[in-house]
């Protein structure tokens, strides 16, 4: 029998990045939602975690958030689905989440259940073969198509799953799905599609739920929200006693973190929110209608994210108080740069100066041209192929501010104040080398599913 409505809870907009707030989660869980869904991914965190295959969220916070969802969903016997495990959705992060699920099952003696995982990493050599056989890896956001040279500079690639591996997992009878990199909204959309709801509303419920309480007001992150889908509409409700989903907060959320408020792209189509209508239906809930999903014509295009290492990195911190040096800060920096260049001319290094008190935050976008501060902080960032070279680049670039040669300077015993007489090791520099799409014949072909029964609870 076809369901008339389906309720999905989202406890956190980025699982583990900051812990899920338990109060509103349990308020939501007590209403017995039909699905527990959440994503842990974000490209906001920069290219470092993907490139180096690490997480930015503390292990215990991720486990805490999984624990809440696993206990509640297993108690009810309803599915739980996680996308983009461990911030980046690489294979090692999926494995890490599976291990956490086992630990939690053991701790709470959870009865055996079926777990389905999928991997999203794309082997560089596979991508190279596809490119050599004629596939064009198209650039997003006006990037040019991927070149083999750019691929060479890439350390790791993940493909962004749409609804397909989640739906497949549900068809396989999964109680819990732990996914690799995926579109945040696709996790929720997959639940709704699997249960027979129309594409228009299924993709929209994903879109509105994926950041949890960011679609509610007042601004309070990490609180749970519940979306209800029917064959006619989507309604979203805040679970925290002091939060409400209003027309303004829900409509406003459509704009968040995307370049255009009207469209959202998925592997398989585009959600068009141009004609959305928003109505307040009770104090905490807003109903949305009018959304349209337009399927892609031709081959499915799957988004790829890739990150490559640029080099080792050090940071120097320099304070300047001398007014004459501040007025001539550009000459001071030119001097320091020239000294690094003298030492490393022709070598591959990068040297950046962020001058706080001048334009440290905005750089060239800063409209305030004159320096209004009586003191400056200069952050020196040096990047080079080896740690030793990066340290020396940064050290020369910092220390030579002390020795800047300005003709009329009064302070001839040094024009820089140091917090430490040295430079600090920083995480290596990485760069987003891929923000592209790959056309595929089968939307599942980049994703590898694996099923298992978790019996650790019996051993607990």
């Amino acid at each position: 029998m076809k369901r008339k409505s389906l309720r999905i809870i989202c406890p956190n907009g980025h699982m583990g990045f900051a812990p899920t707030k338990e109060g509103s989660f349990w308020i939501g869980a007590e209403t017995r939602p039909d699905y527990y869904c959440c994503d842990s991914g974000s490209d906001d965190i920069g290219p470092g975690p993907l490139g180096s295959d690490t997480s930015v969220s503390p292990y215990d916070w991720e486990k805490h958030d999984l624990e809440l969802m696993l206990i509640a969903s297993r108690r009810q016997g309803v599915p739980m689905m996680i996308g983009s495990s461990g911030d980046t959705g690489t294979n090692s992060r999926v494995d890490m989440y599976v291990d956490m699920i086992r630990q939690i099952s053991r701790k709470h003696r959870i009865k055996p259940f079926k777990l389905v995982t999928f991997y999203s990493e794309l082997d560089k050599e596979d991508l190279r073969r596809r490119m050599k056989s004629g596939d064009v890896v198209e650039g997003l956001d006006e990037r040019t198509p991927l070149s083999l040279a750019e691929l060479d500079q890439t350390d790791r690639v993940v493909a962004m799953a749409g609804v397909h591996p989640f739906i497949k997992g549900l068809q396989m009878g999964a109680d819990v799905i732990i996914g690799g990199r995926s579109s945040d909204a696709a996790i929720f959309a997959a639940a709704a599609l699997y249960e027979g709801f129309p594409e228009n509303h299924s993709y929209y419920i994903g879109k509105v739920l994926e950041c949890a309480s960011f679609c509610a007001e007042p601004y309070m992150a990490k609180e749970s929200v519940i979306g209800t889908i029917t064959h006619e509409d989507v309604t979203v409700t805040a679970m925290h006693p002091d939060q409400r989903c209003t027309v303004a907060s829900v409509a406003g959320h459509a704009m968040y973190e995307r370049s255009n408020a009207y469209y959202e792209y998925f592997a398989g189509g585009t959600l068009d929110m141009t004609h959305c209508r928003y109505e307040q239906v009770d104090a905490k809930s807003t109903r949305v209608t009018g959304q349209i999903f337009v399927p892609t014509v031709g081959r499915t295009k799957v988004k790829l994210e890739g990150s490559g290492k640029v080099g080792e990195r050090y940071i120097g911190i320099v304070g300047i108080r001398d007014p004459y040096s501040i007025r001539n800060i550009d000459r001071v920096i030119d001097w320091a740069r020239s000294q690094v260049e003298e030492r490393f001319s022709g070598k591959p290094y990068q040297l950046f100066y962020n001058i706080y008190g001048k334009n440290g935050v905005m750089g060239d976008l800063e409209p305030v041209r004159e320096i209004r501060s009586h003191e400056l902080c200069v952050i020196v960032e040096g990047v080079a192929p080896t740690k030793e070279m990066a340290e020396e680049v940064t050290l020369i670039g910092s220390r030579q501010i002390f020795y800047a040669r300005l003709p009329e300077v009064k302070g001839t015993a040094g024009t820089a104040a140091f917090v430490i007489d040295g430079v600090l090791p920083a995480p290596p520099g990485y760069k987003w080398t891929l923000n592209h799409v790959l056309p595929v014949d089968d939307p599942m072909e980049l994703f590898t599913l694996n099923e298992m029964v978790i019996r650790d609870g019996e051993e607990g």
Partner: protein, 106 residues
């Protein structure tokens, strides 16, 4: 001509990454009147924003007026992807302050 600053008319003025290659700006109003006022004033357009940030108009990839949320939204292309060495604002969330002082004729 009498003017008001955008900070005194809008409820929310924010910037944030939109993917790895862009920063998007949202100016959201509580009242329809203020939204319509700013929309019609000509103080917030592709041209005025490009001039304010001193960038060519081509770097503004989107500029939309979003009636359902009483919001004006525009997006700027980054010159280098977010989080690359040399990036000053990895999340792109501190690029909006120059908008606060935009003078809107009232």
């Amino acid at each position: 001509m009498k003017t008001k600053k955008l900070i005194d008319l809008a409820k929310t003025i924010r910037s944030k990454n939109a993917g790895t290659d862009k920063i998007t700006f949202d100016i959201i109003f509580r009242e329809k009147e203020n939204y319509e006022l700013v929309k019609k004033s000509g103080a917030l357009t592709r041209q005025t924003v490009a001039a304010l940030f001193n960038i060519p108009e081509e770097r503004i990839s989107d500029f939309v007026e979003f009636d359902p949320a009483y919001a004006i939204k525009f997006t700027i292309r980054r010159l280098e992807p977010s989080g690359s060495p040399g990036d000053r604002d990895i999340f792109g969330c501190q690029q909006y302050p120059p908008l606060l002082d935009i003078e809107v004729p009232v």
